[in-house]
Symmetry: D4
Subunit: 230 residues, 8 copies
């Protein structure tokens, strides 16, 4: 069976890095930085970078970035998406993924999705602030969106965006509910329910604010469209 | 203070009919028939008809209709909307109310709304099966919908309909969530949340399946538009 | 189709301002300031002010106000309602909207509603602290409230206010649940459910704390009552 | 410690009747009939009647009544409240309890409360169909309600009734949410939340549809008012 | 109809103090201080003190106390219960109320209940930390608790306390769920549900953390037991 | 790796019976009969009986029993617990498990637990109708309950039973919430929350109505107490 | 803009069939039969069959099938999946989709997914009853599952299936929660939450019991893998 | 009946320490430190230490530790688990408990469980970061886990861990949901539901983040396995 690297602190293993993941799933392990100490993030990045030659972290803080930068000068950090990464040799992007968002407040999650897909080698087009209450903004982008191999629809209170897009394209729409809004938005729960109940076909949903997950799935689909399953 | 008629059964008052309502609110009392026995409905209809010269009931059953018909030959019943009424002299309809619905399954609630508004004297136009997953169906009706003084948007899983309409019209949109759908539709709760969180302006929401309430409010607005507040 | 202004930052569009909105809906676009940086608010206000000659923002912070004030000396800010606006030439107010609230804690939301309606040209009367546990306070205002073309009922734990008012007036009541209260108030959810289930007719509901939305709808109705639908 | 009677079926004890209850709490044990077989109800009634000389059951079915009637000709059953009882010698009722209800659909629960209080020796006055959407109906009864030692407020969607009464009386109001209503009434949950959040003082709440519980508490209070605590 | 005092700020009424309340309900108005500014609390206390000669506030902060103390040297504040009051002439306490609590963390709410009842003239006995997981602690107090005219049961995760007490006493038990606990305690919701579903008779429930409400109702019952209804 | 038996219907495998389970877990596979056709149950029983020499099904219907009885005359069915089984050679029961329940309505679930433990070889003592509202009934059984190696506490609205028992015994208490009750019992959810929040130690919870699961765990513990872990 | 066929009954349009859908989305319209009368289904099938030459309905009843069969002898119906269709010329299936399910009770939803994918031209492999409580059953199928272009994971209480599969494959996993289970399964809500929170990558979720939606998305992905985006 | 120590502050008892607990349950009382002042913790520790010779507190803060350390130099504190204790003479650990956790973020709760079991005399083995999305990590530990007398499974979003382990071992699995995760994790509620619905046998659940409770139950089981019930 496949192996893993056991990270220890005070003689106790606190993490088991999955070194067989690229082989099994086609993707290297990515680090969820929230809730980890800067020291833990450093230890995990060091091990993964040594093993894989590249490493990405999501939901990273500026403090974590400062710690990593002292060890890895090539490390970069994007404040909007909170993505932290060390990536030396970028491949030429392939295929096309469209990332759409309803309002300005949804951009951080949309960027997490977009930059994840880019990190994994996709060409990405962004369509922001095209919520359905001004439907002509979405219609103006329709032809461009239809060119993508996968579409990501990011929306908070306006969960309706995914339904309208779903009725306009041939490819899967990955819907990402966002925890913006107030009152009965219930931290994204209402948007999640809107999207899960969508009357349009071709829509599936990931967790609230999970831009990373949407970018990952869009990449899987984009790769299948470009290379087939191999 | 205003009066009421007390209905009794076995020397105990079981209902107090509000005879001052038309004066206070501009509308006669309407009977919510569900959960009442046919005998109670008959007793209430008889009293209201005698007092007001017209009477309408919602959520009525065919059995209740059969009971009433034996006393009041002019009584009519519509199976889709489940509206039961005795109304002899219809006035000429005034103004215009638009009733829009997303899918075929929403028609019973849409009809309750439409027939309520008609009962109260509105001209009504119906736009059914124009859900947003095929947005061109809604766009084809846009100009007609914009002519109304108030718009009712009835939708189950497709709560998104209200948001798109809200962005296209100048008048209030009364959104009615419907308990169709399955799974995470939660008997209309998801549609209610979608509508309450709508990113479009001008949208307010009534209870799940409350077509009657929407028809009532649309009538209030339509009257204000036609007659002003008097 | 109608146009929009695309705002950019670092060559990426982060907002698409809807310049056709006034034409479609009769209202200029209003800015939801919460969650936006002061810089974004400034950029959006600048563009909208240039295009429309007036601009209003809701849920604004004092910091955002300080930033704007340096560019626009005519900008004003109200701490209670958190409304920020640049409005040079006020029209003479028309019609009448009544804003009622149950308790002292509901005043910020009530003021957001009242000032929104005033911004859009309505005459507004305020009736505060008239909750139903001391019903004589509401009764003392009844005749005044009945003069309005639309009534806004703002209430937190006391969601009951809307029901009592609904039984006393001829015009629509727009109910606004408020996130005050504690324990089983669940941040306004209980008040929302009370209002959605109201036994009175003519009541529709907007999102928790959505004073702006209620002011907008009241304005739509007030305009219809004064001018008809044109 | 106090004793109990163990009822057996096939050598296994299925119920332990609490014979010390009257001594500890001042009330004989009452039987919750729902979910019990007619045979179980008969066995329990027989034992309690033998021990206490009187017995009452709630949520009883007609079938259970038929079974009991064959053994106990003095047994009576009320279809509305679903109360089943054997009570030979009624004492003269003491004090006064007021039972108020909002709508016709709340009567079964209101009757369960009223008949429970009567069974336990209270004088009871009923005030039905006085919901707050026609506030003058409640106001017309105000003086009568104020004479009671305890008030029970029974309401489904109209949870607001308890708040208004609470502001008008000196004695405790026991609020009973009812599972009538539809849509977002959520089987009485919304009414329960309205009542628990009441802005009026002196209101406490029992379970949805728990007329029996409210009648029991009203009796406790009525006894204290008439006899003091002994 | 009864009057009220309207408090104004900048020519706008922000509060309507209910001066007829003592006459209607037997209790002076009490101030819910949370969410009010120190200035508002001062203004309200001044008016009520002038009118009633005594005034109490709940959920007060130390800052509010500091502000009041400068105007009213006789003002007192209790940090545990957060009760703020000006009360010159205490009457001799009458009757007896028992306040029971399950754990140490429930004491602030228990004290709010106890001090409220004392403020309104009750004799109060306290029984703290007698949760059911060590049932002998409760049993040791049983005889003392049974002497009270009303029992308040305050409990967080241990909602079970009310059920056990309910089976031991003749008088009403007012149950107060508390927002202590963690995880699935859901800020007191679980305790509320436990109490509402209690299998014991004689238990009614007030809002989460509403010690004040429980103290008020216990006072109503205690007065009825001592004086009857007059 | 371990094997399984694949059951087919029309050339498609509909079930994979886990033949390695006894080896891995010490228990043969048990059949959850609800939602399966009589034919499916027969096919599964036949295969398991052939492989294991004994087989038990839970939540079985009488119809399923009738079908099985025609093939297996030694098959038995208990109407209360709905357990269906073929078990030829019973071993001598070992150790001791106590099954406690709060009310009469909880007996079906308690019996599912008790008969499951008996099927798996435990000695079982039953203590029914000992809910905490008459705490002396539980106290009377205390010494007997303390003899068991594991205690199962079954309760619907009275979730409090587990807490009180947990404070009296040295061994684990497995709590089973029951879907009896009404109103805010929410089909067992309230009891589940009460139990999960128990202030007593040593209590863990299984799914609502999952008597089988509790019987299984009690057996695991009883075996460890009698035989140790081998 | 694209057209639609308006179906009428009594001069009122009750459905607008979307004839441009194949062009826009690559899929013909499919009929959701639940809640429609047999007559409506017949009318819709007739129109779609005439327009598209093939038509499929989901959640169909046997009664609807009986009605259609009289008009269309080539109509077929599958009792397990409840899929009704008229499809004359099947194309050679392309690519590969894997449909996995956790337990026997999940088969109806799994079949809806599998037969939908087959209807739309996919080759489908089924892996049923491979829930994670007997992990060796899943491991035995691992190599076969990895060959698919898209994987559907159908599970009720065992929402965990999707997570384990997600860690083993390179392609997207579409998770379908199922409304089987009891108690705290909450009609599929618990499985939905498990799946939405999956710690594995590449998993997105559709509505509870929405086998059709999963089959649709799997087809979109399979087509992209076989043909690319054209 | 058993005794208790009453702790007082200002002549009022604020805590009743249960000195009979070890005798009844086999465990000394443990202090839940959260929400208590440092002074209260000191007072309780002093009394318990004097009575029992050892004392442990959970959810302690560093501030509480600093206060205790000044009185008790032998006091120790672990930052990860937040366990505070004074324990002079450790016994030789007996038996074996396995503590498994899914991700790095679950370690604090896992450590609370592990250190609780160690404090009560168990030998403990830790298996961290073995979540099911990389199933080979769990499989690599399988043989070691199977040696334990009880298994604790700690998991946040990955509630699935308990199900897979449950299918691999003969002994009870105590599942601890953790409040990590984001979005629809709902502070641990989703993990709780996953675990309560587990399709594997032998799994019971404690409150979210309740590592202490799991360690306690595992100790009960471990003792039974080593010593039997005495």
């Amino acid at each position: 069976m496949e192996g893993f690297i056991s990270l220890e602190k005070e003689n106790s293993s606190f993490a088991k890095l999955d070194t067989g993941r690229k082989n099994r799933t086609g993707f290297n392990e990515v680090v969820y930085c929230q809730g980890k100490t800067s020291e833990q993030v450093l230890q995990i990045f060091t091990a993964l970078y040594k093993n894989n030659g590249t490493v990405m972290g999501t939901r990273a803080s500026e403090e974590q970035y400062e710690t990593l930068r002292q060890q890895f000068s090539e490390c970069t950090y994007d404040k909007t998406s909170r993505i932290l990464k060390i990536q030396k040799d970028k491949e030429t992007p392939e295929g096309l993924v469209a990332v759409c968002s309803a309002g300005t407040a949804d951009i951080p999650v949309a960027e997490e999705a977009a930059q994840t897909a880019e990190y994994f080698g996709c060409q990405v087009n962004r369509f922001y602030d095209i919520g359905v209450s001004g439907i002509h903004r979405l219609m103006a982008c329709k032809d461009e969106i239809q060119k993508a191999n996968a579409v990501i629809a990011v929306a908070g209170m306006e969960g309706a965006l995914a339904s309208v897009i779903g009725g306009l394209v041939k490819v899967p729409v990955i819907a990402v509910p966002v925890s913006t809004g107030y009152g009965a938005a219930f931290e994204g729960l209402s948007a999640l329910l809107t999207m899960i109940n969508s009357c349009a076909n071709g829509i599936s949903v990931v967790n609230i604010d999970n831009g990373y997950g949407a970018g990952y799935i869009a990449t899987q689909i984009n790769r299948l469209a470009v290379r087939g399953n191999k």
